[in-house]
Amino acid sequence: MNAVGQIKPNARPFYQRYSADQLKEALRRMYLIRRFEEGAEEAYMRGLIHGTMHLSIGQEGSAVGSTMALRTSDYITSTHRGHGHCIGKGADPKLMFAEFFGKEEGYCRGRGGSMHIADVATGNLGANGIVGGGLPIAVGAALAIKKQKRDDVAMCFFGDGASNEGAFHEALNMAAIWKLPVVFVCENNKYGMSVSTDRSMAVANIADRAAAYGMPGVIADGNSIADVEEAIAEAIARARRGDGPSLVECKTYRTRGHSRSDRNRYRTKEEIEEWKARDPIPHFESELMAHGIATEAEVNAIRESAEAEIAAGIEFARLGTDPDPSEVTRDVYSPEAA
């Protein structure tokens, strides 16, 4: 099955199921996410872009592991920390940068910005600025899938904080009673802004909450793309079979602060360093090399190509077209309507 043909027979299913090219593409997407966010951060520091941003650096294994088995016709709903989901689902970083820079060429024509970047054409129904906002929307998309008798799925990303919103309860309950093809992916990065899950939840795991809805609740190591993908693959298969929704909790960590204003007063340097040592990207690189799927030279080439793509994306965005202020109300309503 593997193009390289050197896979160790004891390698976990993730490495058996995908071709070497697919696995290398997964690594490339993880780099793209990392470098996209680092590039965005640099552009912000240099005063090239304004507003705020929520970086997912450290969570790339979860974003790519969750999305790599999806089809274009599957949907995702994403979050304020959504750049990774967007790239994972197939968006072009250059058009994402154009959005970040507020340009007409951007995915949202400069109207959405960091918190709303979404490539609708690849099935992304929107990154959402409201914590928990995407949860019932994913359920609605899954209801449409079922009504249209498709075997697609709706993947719903949300964080630990969103699992304390009422929308979480309402959405999971409705998906469960109607057996809808939803994969709920909770990226538990331990903090809702500054408040830790220890302080905001009385149960140890978000996955434990799945029992209340009669759906499977699975925990994955969010910093291992393989662990995430295997848990997600089972949830996707269950959804496509018509057996209903699942909840997958990816335990992970954002090594950057919540947003630009964060001074990291609520967590220790030791904790941050401990998680940085578990960076999902070097982890995946060493696994690929250990399994003979990629050489070090190939890994370096993938990294360099991702860096070049990001640099070109920033240049593209810088030269983009500024929206015309006279068009501020464009797209509030559909043109075909009154």
Partner: protein, 328 residues
């Protein structure tokens, strides 16, 4: 022409919309075998099945979000709120999602959904089941808000709302559900954003919404006997407002009164008054503008208090008489 009640007219519109387009489905609380709290959906579940007339759990926020997601993915959901007051539970999805997704995503999506809100006082249901929150939603760009006042209008406007590519909020006064009127049998559309001159007159323009249209028409009959000729405009749509029709009328009558059930302060009357004050019709005004709206209080339970909390025919009659006679 045959007559239908307002509730029957809604049901006929829903059935005709489902007949015409398999993407249309209904969702709400107790709209299936129960037939809806106000018997609007009636026996539709038996005719169209539970997949198209879906009883949902008591999760207004979740239902609103499901409607948004289904609309994004190619369906045309029509969501019934059991009482318009419960919109408060779903404001996140209505205001942040339904209204804004098209804009936030650069015009690359549509959110073709309809939400129906049984609204208003007069049923003894007290403060949490009697509000008129139409102006709240009309404040939000991205939404369209309609308030049909007759059986014929509600059928035509609901069908137009279901056709519309953008989210449309339909406010239905609960006291209108049993009102009868002539309703054409075939499907037809009444455009969103067009007011209707319900009674032409020379002396004063009344811009009224929903049940206040009928109360204003009753006041107009009384005043006609006194030689006061009242023009009643049924606004029908709160967003977008048909300002042109109101301006033309005020230029003719030189007087303006706004009659609405929602709380007077910061209500639809304030917006209409301001639009006239900003327009060329301002120079035609011979008297101050009159607003008759809901009291600055929640809707009370006691029947006499409840009546006192919203404009009634005697008060409207008196107000218009004073306005025309220059006794404000």
């Amino acid at each position: 022409m045959r007559e239908l009640t307002y509730a029957q007219a809604i049901q006929e519109a829903l059935a005709q919309a489902m007949d015409a387009d398999p993407a249309v489905f209904l969702m709400g609380e107790d709209i299936g075998v129960y037939g809806g709290a106000f018997q609007v959906t009636g026996d539709l579940v038996h005719r169209y099945g539970e997949d198209r007339v879906m009883d949902a759990p008591i999760s207004e926020l979740g239902q609103a979000g499901v409607a948004v997601g289904a609309a994004l993915a190619g369906c045309k959901p029509v969501l019934e709120f059991q009482f318009s007051d419960f919109a408060t539970l779903a404001m996140e999805q209505i205001v942040n999602q339904a209204a804004k997704l098209r804009f936030m995503l650069g015009g690359k999506v549509n959110v073709p959904l309809v939400m129906r809100f049984p609204a208003g006082s007069g049923t003894g249901a007290a403060a949490q089941h009697s509000q008129s929150l139409d102006a709240w939603l009309a404040h939000v760009p991205g939404l369209k808000v309609v308030q049909p006042s007759t059986p014929a209008d509600v059928k035509g406007m609901l069908l137009a709302a279901i056709d519309d590519p953008d989210p449309v909020m339909v406010f239905e006064h609960k006291l209108l559900y049993k009102m009868k009127g002539e309703v054409p049998e075939e499907p037809y559309r009444i455009p969103i954003g067009k007011a209707h001159v319900a009674r032409p007159g020379r002396d004063v323009t009344v811009v009224a919404t929903s049940i206040m249209v009928h109360k204003s028409l009753e006041a107009a009959e009384t005043l006609a006997a006194e030689g006061i000729d009242v023009e009643v405009i049924d606004l029908r749509t709160l967003r977008p407002i048909d300002t042109a029709t109101i301006i033309e009328s005020v230029k003719k009558t030189s007087r303006l009164a706004c009659v609405y059930e929602g709380v007077k302060t910061l209500g639809i009357g304030a917006e209409i008054s301001a639009r006239i004050a900003e327009s060329e019709a301002f120079d035609y005004l011979d008297a101050p503008i009159l607003r008759l709206g809901g009291a600055e209080s929640p809707i009370p339970y006691n029947p006499e208090l409840e009546k006192a909390a919203v404009p009634q025919v005697p008060g409207i009659t008196e107000g218009l008489r004073n306005l025309v006679r220059g006794r404000m």
